[in-house]
Amino acid sequence: MRSRDGNRNFSLRLCSVIIFSSLTLTASEHLISYKYIVKDATLYNETLLISNAMTKCNGTPQNELILLNKNSKNLKQLIFENSQEFIDYIHKLGLHVEHKETTSNLQNSSTTTLTLKTTCFKVDFNDNFARISPLK
């Protein structure tokens, strides 16, 4: 016959497993890349690519961004709704700048490309907000 103490240990283990799994499963990892091209002082192309990470990312989360969330778990939709805030956040994280300018027979043309290389972000979805932080 099983003692009362043994049952308590079992229930504690079960609860901890449930809590741990719920914590780990709500945090998901996404790969995000961003690039925009400016040609002759005019925006030419802007690309923001988001996808789920197929493999586990390494690194520790840094510089988190908190976005208001309406009980959704769709990161693309969330970022689309808060695009300006997210792009400002990406700018703060740091962008690669590449600028090429050519002056041929006194005619000038320039191309500037700002790029966020594909980075793994950890996203924690909660009821009212979502935490996004890059893993470095």
Binding site: V38, L43, E98, H99, E101, S104, L114
Partner: protein, 196 residues
């Protein structure tokens, strides 16, 4: 008759002696004149030599002055360079440098609304400001090529290239006027950002 012949002979001989004396006198005069000419030439040569020595001393003084002036110019240049180096911003340990730039961007022609035009122009201006920061912090690679054919310029090309990673740049002010967006952006760089 005999005396007359003798007299004539005596006269002729005396005339001959007189002629010799006259010729001797002319030779002496000539030699004296030559001597005087040589003396004059010698004095002229001496004067020329003294003039030459004076000119040489003057030239030496001029060269000394030129050397002194050159040394002064060099010293001034070094002082200017030292003052420029003192004015130039150098990132020292436990210090930070504040860099401020203005980027400009233009809205595309085919925008659906003024708000979209503003947003797109702002993106372009931000990219320009990032480029300006990268140019200031990291520098620009410049490449030029001119083609000359038959003594005439055929083609002139200048290429510039900037590549950098810009982090923590902040927008200070944004203005949008007559289709042109200007973004003032600043960045604070500290020594620890570059410390290995």
């Amino acid at each position: 008759m005999r005396y007359s012949i003798l007299l004539a002979l005596l006269l002729s001989v005396s005339s001959l002696f007189g002629a010799d004396k006259a010729s001797n006198a002319t030779v002496v005069e000539q030699t004296n004149a030559e001597l005087a000419a040589v003396r004059v030439a010698a004095t002229q040569a001496r004067e020329e030599a003294t003039l030459a020595t004076i000119q040489a001393t003057k030239a030496k003084e001029d060269s000394k002055r030129a050397i002194n002036e050159l040394a002064q110019v060099k010293a001034q240049r070094e002082e200017e360079l030292a003052s420029m180096a003192a004015q130039e911003q150098v990132l020292k340990e436990n210090r930070s440098i504040h860099i401020s730039v203005v980027g400009q961007g233009v809205a595309p022609m085919n925008t659906s609304s003024p708000a979209q035009a503003y947003a797109l122009a702002k993106r372009a201006a931000i990219a320009d400001a990032y480029r300006a920061i990268a140019e200031k912090v990291k520098g620009v690679r410049v490449d030029g090529q001119d083609t000359v054919k038959n003594m005439m310029m055929q083609k002139s090309t200048i290429r510039t290239y900037v590549q950098a990673m810009v982090k923590n740049a902040n927008i200070v002010e944004t203005t949008f006027k007559e289709g042109l967006c200007e973004v003032e952006m600043e960045i604070v760089i500290s020594h620890s950002d570059f410390a290995q």
